[in-house]
């Protein structure tokens, strides 16, 4: 007991600022949530609460839940029943989860970079309009995000033990009860373990120590889905394709209506070319647009500069170049320019510059990343991989709210903070040295 008290006191002393930031976030949005949001108007919150009630009452109608597994409904209904007020319960779930996200964002970033960078990243989280929105609205997004962030904390630890891998699996499993998207983070982590763990045999061992706890955690969910709903996953992708795909034809839509209950493959084979057209539009325009907003409407963005969201891409790229320690020698510049022109040619031949222009930025940066991959710290590499894998998978759908991308967002403010804290002073020093050298030469 004494040891625990000492540990807590030590933790408080070492982490005063992140605790203060978290506390300010909590009390600010507690005030907004409980003094300005007085009527339960969120259809999502009501839907998940009522669905949870049906499940708790025996789930006799066996109707599917559109868009999410049973975790959210069960949490909202049970907690709502305990407090006898689902609205208050929902607000508490959202506020505590987002406070947890802000708190863990510091410790995840501290696993990657210095304490200063971690603090700035945490501040970017605390002032982000979308995190604020999630903390005051009764939705099903904040709780899974919190569990994903806890798993990211363990996944990015420098020294990992068996318990670390087990915890990554368990927390991603818990997050899957709320949103299936957390499986994409698991896939990214497993790929990272298989490819980038130096000792392959340990990679495979750690792979198993992550995968099996994950499967054990979600097995009750899968059993419930199979026994009650007749299928392992309640994800109704084809409904979303029908509702959200940008490019559709009348024939495609008519046929799609008949296969809404089927899986993604049937949707793909209905018209592979149209499916791919939508996929690449989502991957290269629509979904990244929610990160940096290429269009004029700025409301729904995760950029750290929400008033001019597109500018938010610059410090993130700066941080990436800094972390890869890119040395722009002749060879690298040649590779960059040739990648740019080859990409330009490919877009001209097979794509559409209006929707695929982001490739002109992504591909040269990817080439730089691959050339300098050994310079990137392993845990940073994992976050970059999870960002790529998540976008590759999620882009079968156009996300309709930017907060759906929050599970992978951390790397962007973290790289931006790194750019401001470490790269900018370095650039300033180089400029000063250059000017000084220029001055000395003139004197001679």
């Amino acid at each position: 007991m004494q040891n625990l008290k000492i540990s807590i006191a030590q933790f408080k002393n070492e982490n005063k600022l992140p605790i203060i930031v978290t506390a300010i976030f909590f009390f600010t949005f507690f005030y907004v949530s409980f003094f300005h949001h007085l009527t339960f108007t969120e259809s999502d919150g009501i839907y998940y609460f009522l669905t949870g009630e049906r499940i708790l009452n025996g789930y006799e109608d066996n109707l599917g839940i559109i868009g999410a597994p049973i975790g959210g409904p069960l949490l909202h209904a049970s907690f709502g029943n305990i407090l006898d007020d689902p609205f208050i319960a929902g607000k508490i779930i959202s506020l505590l989860s987002c406070t947890g996200v802000v708190f863990t964002s510091f410790f995840i970033t501290k696993n990657l970079f210095s304490k200063k960078v971690a603090l700035i990243t945490q501040l970017f989280f605390a002032v982000n309009p979308k995190i604020a929105h999630l903390s005051i609205m009764v939705l099903n997004e904040a709780a899974p995000l919190f569990f994903i962030f806890v798993s990211l904390y363990f996944a990015t630890k420098k020294q990992k033990t068996i318990a670390t891998f087990v915890l990554v699996g368990i927390f991603l499993g818990i997050a899957s009860y709320f949103r299936y998207q957390s499986i994409f983070i698991l896939i990214a982590f497993l790929i990272y373990l298989l490819i980038f763990e130096r000792e392959r045999i340990f990679g495979l061992r750690n792979f198993c120590f992550t995968l099996f706890p994950f499967l054990a955690t979600i097995s009750p969910l899968l059993i419930f889905n199979y026994l009650i709903l007749g299928k392992f996953s309640t994800l109704s992708t084809n409904f979303y394709f029908l509702d959200l795909f940008k490019f559709q034809t009348e024939t495609w839509r008519q046929n799609m209506v008949n296969i809404v209950d089927e899986g993604i493959f049937s949707a793909f084979f209905l018209d592979p070319s149209l499916f791919l057209k939508n996929y690449f539009y989502n991957l290269l325009f629509h979904n990244p647009d929610h990160l940096f907003k290429f269009s004029i409407d700025v409301y729904d963005t995760l950029s750290i500069i929400p008033l001019f969201p597109i500018l938010g891409i610059l410090p993130a790229i700066g941080g990436f170049l800094y972390i890869t320690k890119t040395n722009f020698n002749k060879k690298q510049i040649y590779i960059l320019i040739s990648t740019f022109f080859i990409t330009f040619l490919l877009i001209g031949l097979f794509g559409n510059l209006e929707y695929h222009f982001l490739l002109l930025v992504i591909l040269p940066l990817s080439v730089i990343g691959i050339i300098n991959i050994h310079k990137i710290p392993n845990n940073v590499l994992f976050l970059i991989i999870s960002c790529v894998i998540f976008l590759i998978f999620i882009s079968i759908l156009p996300v309709y709210r930017s907060f759906h991308l929050l599970p992978i967002w951390l790397i962007l403010p973290a790289l931006s903070s790194l750019f401001f804290i470490e790269a900018v002073p370095m650039i300033q020093t180089r400029i000063r040295q250059f000017l000084h050298r220029g001055g000395s030469n003139n004197e001679i």
Partner: protein, 200 residues
């Protein structure tokens, strides 16, 4: 002071201001709202802000005046009116059916597709499996907004002009069986409540 700290402070300040305005516009609106995205700022400066939830609360109070509201069906896109009045919901996004429909066809779900019927049944309160059940609403709550999620949406941007007439309760083309009992318009949208007097 260090240049990088000034830039970070500036970025954080912009984010805080943006978050404040977004949060403010989530729960409040300008009394004399216009289409302008900055109307909330005008309202804040002039002190003419009103709670966005006020409309919902007024409509809930109005519906609760119906003694038998718990037995009645409300056709709406949102769930809050039904939830707060313990009534029943026929869910609709008001985009179902075909462009040749009349308002009555729409209410009777005459040309709704299987997909539209399924989505409505699943999102209704209580949800049900019988997609073709005959339910005529007692109230219809039509809320509309001028904002679009994707302004570049292509062909499936349906023509539902026959439903859009519901935006204006004084439109002479509104069928007689719809009796407007509440309406409120604000800069970027509005809400109209109709009593539906349509026989099965």
């Amino acid at each position: 002071m260090k240049f990088n700290l000034i830039v970070i402070a500036l970025f954080l300040l912009v984010s805080i201001s943006f978050t404040f305005m977004l949060t403010l516009s989530t729960f409040y609106q300008n009394e004399d709202s216009t289409d302008s995205k900055f109307s909330i700022l005008d309202g804040l400066l002039s002190g003419e802000l009103k709670s966005s939830e006020e409309e919902t609360r007024k409509i809930i109070q109005l519906l609760k005046q119906d003694e038998n509201i718990e037995e009645k069906f409300i056709m709406a896109s949102g769930k809050s009116f039904t939830y707060h009045t313990n009534s029943k919901l026929i869910h609709s996004t008001f985009t179902e059916g075909s462009s040749d429909d009349t308002v009555e066809d729409f209410i009777r779900k005459k040309t709704w597709s299987y997909y539209e019927l399924y989505m409505s049944a699943n999102n209704s309160i209580p949800p049900h499996n019988d997609l073709y059940v005959n339910q005529i609403p007692n109230y219809l709550i039509y809320s509309y907004t001028n904002f679009s999620d994707d302004p570049n949406t292509t062909w499936y941007k349906y023509d539902n002009s026959y439903i859009k007439i519901l935006e204006n309760p004084e439109d002479p083309n509104i069928p007689k069986f719809l009796n407007p009992i509440y309406s409120s318009a604000f800069g970027n949208g509005g809400i109209v409540v109709y009593e539906v007097n349509l026989q099965d």
